[in-house]
C-alpha cells in the first residue's frame, strides 16, 4: 500500500529517460548495474551488480547496531498485555494508534511516540488494568493484606516489585518502586474510607496503569547497564532476553528465559541459541503469528487497503464477507506454513484453506463456513504469490496490473528499486481509445514507446507472468474473449534471468534463485532486527545468505541465527547524553 502511489504513476504515465532535473540518464538499463539497489548492503551475491564483496578479515556474522530503544508494536503490546493480565485484554490493542512502516516493517526502530499514541495507550491500559485479577502475582495479595493499612502497603510493594519486574522485563530500580507506591497511595484514596480491600485494589490498579504507560514499558531498551561507557556496550542479560523473545515470538521473556538472564546464563551465542530454540518449540503459535506478520508486511498483503475497494460493477462478489474470507485464508495459509517455514514452500505450496466464502474465487463450491485444508490445482496456484489476497493487493480496483505486480517482485524479491517516477511524463492516449482487448495489450502499447520501455522492461516481464489472475485473484483463461498470454521472464538478476510461462513457473524460479535468497535474508534482517541494513552489514548478510541456503531455506533457522549471534550481546554506544 505504501508504494501504491508511485507505482500507479508508473502505470498510468509510463516512465521516460528524458527527465528534467538531471536524473534521467541513469537507471534506465535494468540488464546491468543501473537500477537502484533498495538500500545498502546489497552486495554479497545480490542482484545489483557492482564490485564484488571482499569480506576477508571481516568478523563473520557481526552487525553494527547502535544502542537504541524500541517501542512495542501493536502485536507485541497485545501479547505482552495478554501475558501480564490475561487473554481477555487482547482485543484492546486494536484501539492503539496504528503501527508505522518507515522501513517497511512495523518492527522498525524509528518508532517514536505521538500525542495520539499516548492517549490511545492510556485508553488501552485503563481497559487492561481492569483485568488486574488475572495477574498471577495477585495471588500473594491475600486476605492478610486487608488487616490494616501497613499490611496493605507491604502487600502492594511486593506485588509491584514482582509484577513490575515482569512488566519492565527486569528488576525495578528503587526510585521506580517508590514512585509507583506514591501512585498506589493516590489511587487508594479514590475509594471511600472503610473498604480496605477496595482501596488496596484501586491503589494497585492506578499503579499498574502507571507501569504500563511508562517509557520503560513501551520502549524496550538496548542500552546496556546505566553508566556503561566505551565505544561498545554490553547489553544487560535482561535486555538480551527481551530482544530474543520479542524477535521470535513478539512476546516478553517467559519465566525460564528470565531465570536464565537473572542467573547470568545468557552471555554466549550458544546459550542464546539454545534458549531461542526452546522458545520456538514452546510457543509455536506465537512464532506462527510473528511469521505471518512478517510475510504480510514484506509482501504488503492488506485487505484493508484501497486496492481492495473493488469496483462493485465488475466484482460484485468482493463484499466485506468475501474480503474477510480472503484475509482469514491468508492467516491460515501463513500460520500453517510457519510449522515448517521454508522459502520454497512459501512460494510453491498449492495447499490452501477454503470455506464457502472464498470457494468461488477458486471456482470451487463449498457449503461450510469452516475453512478446510484443500489441495488447489497446482497448475494454477503456487504459494503466497498466487493467493487472491496478494494478487488483489497488487491490482487496481477494476483490473489486474502487470506494473504493480512486476514492481512488487523487483522490490520485494530482488531488493531493487524501480527508477523514480519522472516528473515530466508524456500524456497517454485514453484507455478506451487504445484499441486493446486485454490488459496485456494495453500495457504492451504503453511500453512500445521507447522511453517508457526503458524503465518498464525492468519489471513488466515479471508482472505479465501474473496475467492469469484478475483484480481479485481469480484464475482466467480468457480476457474479453482473448486467450490470456502470461508469458514473462525473470529479469534483473545476474545469473538467473530466464523466460517463464506463468506465475507458477515464476514462483518456482524465484524460490531457487540465489539473488532472491540474499534479498530475502535482507528482508528478514529488517523485520527481526528492526533496522535497515547498512554497507557495514554487507559481509555479515552475505554469510547469512550462505547459512540460509545451507539450512535449506528454513526461515525459522534464519531468524534464529540472526538474533543469536555475537551482535545480540552488545551495541555501539550512543554519544554521551547532552
Amino acid at each position: 500500500m505504501r508504494q501504491t502511489l508511485s507505482a500507479l504513476a508508473l502505470l498510468l504515465l509510463g516512465c521516460t529517460a528524458n527527465i528534467v532535473g538531471g536524473n534521467g540518464e541513469q537507471a534506465v538499463d535494468p540488464s546491468s548495474p543501473g537500477l537502484a539497489a533498495g538500500g545498502a548492503g546489497s552486495s554479497g551475491g545480490s542482484a545489483s551488480g557492482g564490485s564484488p564483496l571482499d569480506c576477508a578479515g571481516t568478523p563473520a556474522q557481526k552487525f553494527g547496531i547502535s544502542a537504541r530503544i524500541r517501542r512495542l508494536t501493536r502485536l507485541e503490546l497485545e501479547n505482552t498485555l495478554a501475558d501480564l493480565l490475561g487473554g481477555a485484554t487482547r482485543e484492546l490493542a486494536a484501539q492503539l494508534e496504528s503501527d508505522t512502516f518507515a522501513i517497511g516493517y512495523s518492527t522498525g526502530d524509528e518508532r517514536g511516540v505521538s500525542s495520539n499514541y499516548v492517549d490511545s495507550l492510556k485508553s488501552v491500559v485503563e481497559g487492561a488494568a481492569a483485568n488486574l485479577a488475572n495477574a498471577s502475582e495477585l495471588q500473594a495479595v491475600d486476605a492478610a493484606c486487608n488487616a490494616d493499612e501497613e499490611s496493605a502497603k507491604a502487600c502492594a510493594r511486593t506485588f509491584l516489585e514482582t509484577f513490575g519486574a515482569r512488566a519492565l522485563r527486569r528488576p525495578l530500580a528503587p526510585a521506580e518502586l517508590d514512585g509507583l507506591l506514591v501512585v498506589y497511595t493516590a489511587g487508594s484514596a479514590t475509594v471511600a474510607a472503610g473498604d480496605r480491600r477496595a482501596a488496596l485494589m484501586a491503589g494497585l490498579t492506578y499503579a499498574v496503569r502507571a507501569l504500563l504507560q511508562s517509557s520503560d514499558f513501551i520502549f524496550r531498551t538496548e542500552l546496556g547497564a546505566p553508566g556503561a561507557s566505551g565505544a561498545s556496550v554490553m547489553l544487560t542479560p535482561y535486555e538480551v532476553a527481551a530482544a530474543l523473545s520479542y524477535a521470535l515470538t513478539a512476546s516478553p521473556p517467559d519465566v525460564e528465559l528470565t531465570q536464565q538472564a537473572a542467573s547470568g546464563a545468557l552471555t554466549t551465542p550458544a546459550q542464546l541459541s539454545a534458549q531461542g530454540r526452546r522458545l520456538l518449540e514452546a510457543y509455536p503459535e506465537r512464532f506462527a503469528r510473528q511469521a505471518e506478520r512478517f510475510v504480510r508486511e514484506w509482501l504488503s498483503i492488506d485487505l484493508g487497503s484501497p486496492a481492495w475497494k473493488k469496483d462493485a460493477k465488475l466484482y460484485p462478489q468482493a463484499n466485506p464477507t468475501f474480503n474477510a474470507a480472503l484475509d482469514r485464508e491468508t492467516e491460515l495459509f501463513l500460520r500453517d506454513w510457519a510449522k515448517t517455514p521454508s522459502l520454497s514452500a512459501l512460494l510453491t505450496s498449492s495447499k490452501s484453506f477454503v470455506s464457502r466464502d472464498n470457494a468461488p474465487v477458486y471456482g470451487l463450491t463449498a457449503t461450510s463456513a469452516e475453512f478446510i485444508p484443500t489441495a488447489l490445482d497446482a497448475s494454477q496456484r503456487a504459494g503466497v504469490l498466487t493467493l487472491p489476497s496478494y494478487l488483489g493487493s497488487r491490482a487496481h480496483t477494476d483490473s489486474s496490473s502487470p506494473v504493480l505486480r512486476g514492481i512488487a517482485v523487483l522490490k520485494k524479491f530482488l531488493c531493487l528499486e524501480p527508477p523514480p517516477v519522472p516528473a515530466m511524463v508524456p500524456p497517454l492516449p485514453p484507455a478506451d481509445q487504445s484499441g486493446a482487448k486485454t490488459t496485456r495489450e494495453r500495457f504492451a502499447l504503453h511500453t512500445s514507446i521507447a522511453f517508457c520501455s526503458s524503465c518498464h522492461r525492468a519489471f513488466d516481464p515479471m508482472g505479465y507472468a501474473f496475467e492469469h489472475y484478475d483484480a481479485i485473484g481469480q484464475y482466467r483463461e480468457q480476457e474479453n474473449g482473448q486467450l490470456v498470454d502470461s508469458s514473462g521472464a525473470l529479469v534483473g538478476t545476474a545469473r538467473s534471468d530466464a523466460p517463464v510461462a506463468d506465475a507458477v513457473a515464476l514462483s518456482s524460479l524465484l524460490s531457487t534463485t540465489p539473488e532472491v535468497h540474499s534479498c530475502f535474508v535482507r528482508q528478514t534482517y529488517r523485520f527481526t532486527i528492526g533496522r535497515k541494513e547498512t554497507d557495514a552489514d554487507a559481509c555479515a548478510l552475505s554469510s547469512y545468505a550462505q547459512l540460509f541456503e545451507d539450512k535449506e531455506l528454513d526461515v525459522r533457522e534464519l531468524m534464529l541465527a540472526l538474533v543469536t549471534d555475537e551482535s545480540a550481546l552488545s551495541r555501539a554506544a550512543l554519544p554521551s547524553p547532552l
Binding site: R2, Q3, T4, L5, S6, L8, A9, L12, L13, V20, G21, G22, N23, Q26, A67, I69, Q95, E97, T100, A102, E110, G112, V113, S114, S115, N116, D119, S120, K122, S123, A175, G179, V182, V183, A186, G187, A189, T190, A192, Y206, A210, Q213, S215, D216, F219, T221, L223, P226, S305, P306, K309, E417, P420, A423, M424, V425, P427, L574, S576, P577
Partner: protein, 446 residues
C-alpha cells in the same frame, strides 16, 4: 528554568535554528503567558492538483484579477466559487512552488511523494529510497507545540489510503493520522468529564495526575541516558505527557456538551467530509484542541461531483491537459466540490460564538494540495488559500506571484508562506524548513 531565559534570547535561539525542530517544552511555556493572535490553526489538504485557469480569481466583469476587487464565482465550474461569500477573509496565493524538492536536488524528489512531504514541512524527502520521510516537522506540529495543544490529525481512508501523509514530527517521521471515528471518539471524549461535585471525582483526578507525574519522572530518567534520535523519542513522549497533564488539570474549563456517541458515516457518502469537519469543530469548540489537520481524500469515484462514474485519479487528474479546456473544467468541477467543503467548515466556525464574535475570527485555515498540474505530477504552482479572521495580515487579497510551468523557470519557494503563517502564531522564525529558502513571504502582510 524558563524564568531565567529572556524572550529575546529565545527568539535568537529560534532564528539560529531556522525552524530546525527540537523546540521542546520550555519555549512553548515561555511564550504561553504572552500569547496573542490567532488561537487556532486548521490545515486542509486534498489530492489531484489544480486547474489554474478556473482556480484563480477574476476581475469583476471578467479579465485578470488585481490584488483586490475580484470575484470567485465567475463561472459555474470555477474552483473557488463556493467561497465567494467569504472572500473578504481570504488570502489566495498563486505561483508558490515546492522548490525545496527540486532546486539543486539530485535526483529530484517530486511527484506524489514530494507533494506529500514538502507542502507543510518546507523540506524534501530524505532520499530516493526513503522519500516519504524528511528531517524536520510540519507547520501543524510546530504550531501545536507553540500553542501547547494536542493536534487532531484525521484522514479518511480514501483513494490514497495509508500512503498519504502531510504531517511530520520533529524527527521528520510521518505522524499517523486518526481515521476511525469510534477510536477518535473514545480517545478524545473517553475521559471527558463535566465538572462534578462528587467528592471521589477530586480524588480520581488527583490519582490520574499522580499517574502522569510518575510517567514524566520515568521518561526523564530514561531520557537522561540517551542522545540523538533515541533521546528525541523520549522527548516526544514527554511532550505528549505534558499535554495530557495539561488537559487533566483543567477539566473545569470545558463547558461544551460531550457528544453522546461517535459519529457515523461512510466513505461512499457525500457528507462524509462534513462529518469529519463536524467532529473537528466539536473538539475546537470544547477547547480540546487548537490545531486540526484534515486530509480530504474521499475515493476514486465521487458521483455527487457531477462527473458521473469518472475516476478522480485515473481519469480526471491524469486526464488534465493545460491546453484542453474540457479537462480543466472537469478538474475544476472536482476541486470546486472540495471548495464547497471548505466553505462548510468556515460556516461551522462562524457558528461558534467566541468573545464578541465567532471562532472564525481567531482561526487561520491553511488549505493546500499535493500537486499543481496533476497529470505531470508537478510540484510547482500549488494552490494555496488562507482563510479565517485570525492574524494581522491583510485579507481579501489575491497574490499573483507568477505562473511558471517548468521547473527551470523562476520559482517562488513556498517556505516563505510557512514561515509567515508560523509567525502569525508568535513564533518569530527567520525561516521555515529548508534553510536555503529563508524569510517570510514578501507581500504577505499586505
Amino acid at each position: 528554568m524558563k524564568s531565567q531565559i529572556s524572550r529575546r534570547a529565545l527568539l535568537a535561539t529560534f532564528s539560529g535554528l531556522a525552524c530546525a525542530g527540537y523546540f521542546k517544552g520550555l519555549l512553548r511555556d515561555a511564550f504561553a503567558q504572552e500569547a496573542t493572535g490567532p488561537q487556532r490553526l486548521i490545515v486542509l489538504s486534498n489530492p489531484h492538483g489544480c486547474g489554474a485557469d478556473l482556480w484563480r480569481p477574476q476581475a469583476v466583469g471578467g479579465g485578470a484579477a488585481q490584488e483586490t476587487g475580484w470575484t470567485l464565482d465567475y463561472d459555474p465550474d470555477s474552483t473557488l466559487g463556493p467561497l465567494e461569500a467569504h472572500k473578504d477573509s481570504l488570502l489566495i496565493i498563486e505561483g508558490l512552488d515546492l522548490t525545496c524538492n527540486y532546486q539543486d536536488v539530485d535526483p529530484i524528489l517530486t511527484g506524489h511523494n514530494g507533494g506529500n512531504v514538502a507542502p507543510l514541512t518546507g523540506r524534501h524527502g530524505r532520499s530516493e529510497d526513503d522519500s516519504m520521510r524528511t528531517d524536520g516537522p510540519s507547520i501543524d506540529h510546530v504550531v501545536a507545540k507553540q500553542l501547547g495543544t494536542k493536534p487532531f490529525y484525521f484522514k479518511p481512508l480514501g483513494y490514497a489510503g495509508g500512503a498519504t501523509a502531510v504531517s511530520y514530527d520533529d524527527a521528520g517521521e510521518q505522524i499517523p493520522y486518526e481515521y476511525d471515528f469510534r477510536d477518535a471518539y473514545k480517545s478524545w471524549f473517553g475521559s471527558f468529564m463535566a465538572p462534578s461535585s462528587d467528592p471521589s471525582a477530586k480524588a480520581r483526578s488527583a490519582a490520574d495526575l499522580a499517574v502522569v507525574s510518575y510517567l514524566k519522572d520515568d521518561a526523564n530518567r530514561l531520557r537522561s541516558r540517551l542522545a540523538g534520535p533515541e533521546r528525541a523519542k523520549v522527548e516526544a513522549h514527554l511532550d505528549a505527557l505534558n499535554l495530557l497533564e495539561k488537559r487533566l488539570s483543567r477539566p473545569a474549563t470545558i463547558t461544551c456538551q460531550k457528544p453522546a456517541a461517535a459519529p457515523a458515516g461512510s466513505l461512499d457518502d457525500e457528507t462524509y467530509l462534513q462529518t469529519c469537519m463536524d467532529f473537528g469543530l466539536q473538539l475546537l469548540a470544547c477547547g480540546l484542541t487548537q490545531v486540526f489537520t484534515l486530509y480530504m481524500d474521499i475515493g476514486q469515484t465521487m458521483p455527487w461531483v457531477g462527473l458521473g462514474d469518472a475516476k478522480m485519479h485515473d481519469d480526471i487528474a491524469h486526464g488534465y491537459r493545460p491546453d484542453d479546456p474540457t479537462s480543466i473544467r472537469k478538474l475544476s468541477k472536482l476541486q470546486r466540490w472540495y471548495a464547497s467543503q471548505v466553505a462548510y467548515l468556515i460556516e461551522g466556525l462562524k457558528a461558534i460564538p467566541e468573545g464578541a464574535g465567532t471562532a472564525y475570527d481567531n482561526t487561520i485555515i491553511l488549505w493546500t494540495n499535493e500537486l499543481g498540474d496533476p497529470a505531470r505530477h508537478m510540484n510547482n504552482n500549488l494552490p494555496f488559500v488562507l482563510a479565517g479572521g485570525g492574524g494581522n495580515y491583510k485579507k481579501g487579497r489575491f497574490l499573483q506571484l507568477g505562473y511558471a510551468s517548468e521547473y527551470r523557470d523562476p520559482q517562488n519557494a513556498h517556505n516563505g508562506l510557512l514561515c509567515s503563517v508560523a509567525n502569525q502564531f508568535g513564533m518569530g522564525l527567520s525561516g521555515f524548513g529548508d534553510a536555503r529558502f529563508p524569510g517570510e513571504l514578501p507581500g504577505f502582510l499586505g
